[in-house]
Amino acid sequence: MAFVAFGSQAPAQEQKPTKTGRVALILLLPGLFYLALFFITPLISLIITSLKQASASGVIGRYDYGFELGNYAYAVSQYAPQIFRSFSFALLATIIALAISYPIAYFIGVKARDKPLLQGILLTLVVAPFFISFLLRTFAWKQIFSNDSFIVNLLKNIGVFGADSYIIGTNFAVVFGLVYNFIPFMTLPIYANLDRLDIRLLEAGSDLYASPAKTFQKVTLPLSLPGVISGTLLTFIPISGDYVVASRDFLGGPDTAMIGNVVEANFLRIQDYPTASALSVMLMATIVLLVSAYVKRSGTEDLL
């Protein structure tokens, strides 16, 4: 749902802000101050915590201020597989979600444009999964794919699966769950973009004897690129930090943990705050690098 708003940012007619004065400050300051206090300073806290050292008192969960860069080295050496897995899962799931979502977005935005009722129904169905807790949805997949479930037994009976094969706990199950959860996040921004695509451009393409495939490749796809970019960001970023799908209580197993799982375990269970913070800082740094490449292209005004 968030992303209907995300995509529909283009105003009917561009307005230049005209007013000046102190009112702007009164309107802006409370919200911006809030974000400074509860978004920016927490990021600084995270960096400070990532550099703390074990307390001289030796109490578990107590750390002293320090400049222990070794925490980063430790986090990387200890959790390299999870770090690698996070980004490869996120990349793979983003690509698959894009492949699944683009045709849907195209159908809703272009093919169904003359039928407002159909378009409305389809859009409602795309956002429908948002209205039921994603934990319940993910858990439903766990039960559907559990050993002895209808599907797994069927696969065994028709011989696709060996007798002791399983789905839950595999990399496949985790990527599957991630793709499922993030299809709407990919579909909505692409739809919002394609919905504004001028059909006459496509007609012009066919008037010039371009094949539908050629028209798609030369006209539709390049024009929809902004939608694809916001869709991929909205998918890749949350997936890289997710830890529900890969959790052993959901679709994951002993060898599917991602960065999020490690941060959760270190922060909330074994109270190793510096390692958890170092991992979070590295995740954030990677995302910032990724996003700033995007910001450089489009400027800050396009972001909102």
Binding site: A2, F6, Q9, P11, Q15, P17, T18, T20, G21, L25, L27, G31, Y34, L35, A36, F38, F39, T41, L46, P103, I104, Y106, F107, K111, P116, L117, L122, T124, A128, P129, F130, F131, I132, F134, L135, L136, T138, F139, A140, Q143, I144, Y180, I183, P212, I237, P238, G241, D242, Y243, S247, F250, V263, E264, F267, Y273, L283, M284, E301, L303, L304
Partner: protein, 266 residues
């Protein structure tokens, strides 16, 4: 396009099948809310509506749901007010540090939840704040604020400034212009922003887990319960919320299409 078009049947069939796929876990959750299960809710043991009638037999489900509502309502109120103010300023006013402001508003949208959750938790730890309902509300206002700004901003941008000018020409004070002209026109945008904030807050798990201490919200309850099996009452709550939300969305759409038709017949 008279030529043979692959898209003619292939694309609609594909879309239909994908939607079917999207609905599977929703249907599954709904069906299993009627399961006559004893402890865990994995195997189908027969149909019952007891789970729906006696949701609060599972006291944990009910109190977690109550907490989620308290958090979502409080966070929505605060972030809608703060976000609407920012949105108006962004569209209507010129001020220095505009790109810094845009960046500050964009960053929370581009930050993985686990980073925001751990960061805030690290800060609460440093400050020595006790985690509980208040810290969850603080966290939820933080991550929903930018979504409110984006949604309301789109609405402010479509307002005709001439309407406000007309108000001023008629000697209305700025306050009167705001409450009599601007605010009523913005209201649909503000309401959809509030609904969005509510939905995001209600469904949030990761940020909540890091900042809630011993307090359970509904998603947190589901996460914890997953280890030993989620009770059917949780399916009831999830399904009920789904049905209510869908009813609201469909009602809004039907109203919009009736409006459209009226405009056409006029």
């Amino acid at each position: 396009m008279t030529r043979f078009s692959l898209g003619k049947y292939l694309l609609p069939t594909y879309v239909f099948l994908t939607f079917l796929f999207l609905m599977i876990p929703i249907g599954y959750t709904f069906v299993f809310s009627f399961n006559d299960s004893i402890k865990s809710n994995i195997i189908w043991r027969g149909f019952t509506i007891d789970n729906w009638l006696n949701v609060c037999d599972q006291a944990d489900v009910c109190s977690a749901f109550g907490n989620s509502i308290v958090v979502a309502v409080s966070a929505t109120l605060v972030s809608t007010v703060l976000g609407t103010m920012i949105a108006i300023a962004l569209v209507r006013y010129r001020f220095k540090f505009r790109s810094a402001t845009n960046l500050l508003l964009f960053l929370p949208l581009a930050t993985p939840e686990v980073v925001m959750g751990a960061g805030l938790a690290a800060q609460f730890l440093d400050f020595g704040w006790q985690k509980g309902l208040t810290t969850v509300i603080i966290a939820h206002v933080m991550f929903t604020l930018s979504f409110v700004v984006v949604t309301v901003k789109a609405r402010v941008a479509t307002l005709d400034p001439a309407l406000e000018e007309a108000g001023r020409d008629l000697y209305a004070s700025p306050m009167v212009v705001f409450w009599k002209v601007t605010f009523p026109l913005l209201l649909p945008g503000i309401l959809s922003a509030a609904m969005l904030a509510f939905a995001l807050s209600f469904d949030d798990f990761i940020i909540t887990q890091f900042n809630s201490g011993a307090v359970d919200t509904f998603p947190k309850f589901v996460y914890t319960a997953a280890a030993r099996g989620i009770p059917p009452e949780a399916n009831v709550v999830g399904s009920a919320v789904f049905l209510i939300a869908m009813t609201i969305v469909i009602a809004v759409q039907v109203r919009a299409s009736i409006k459209r038709k009226k405009m056409l017949t006029r």
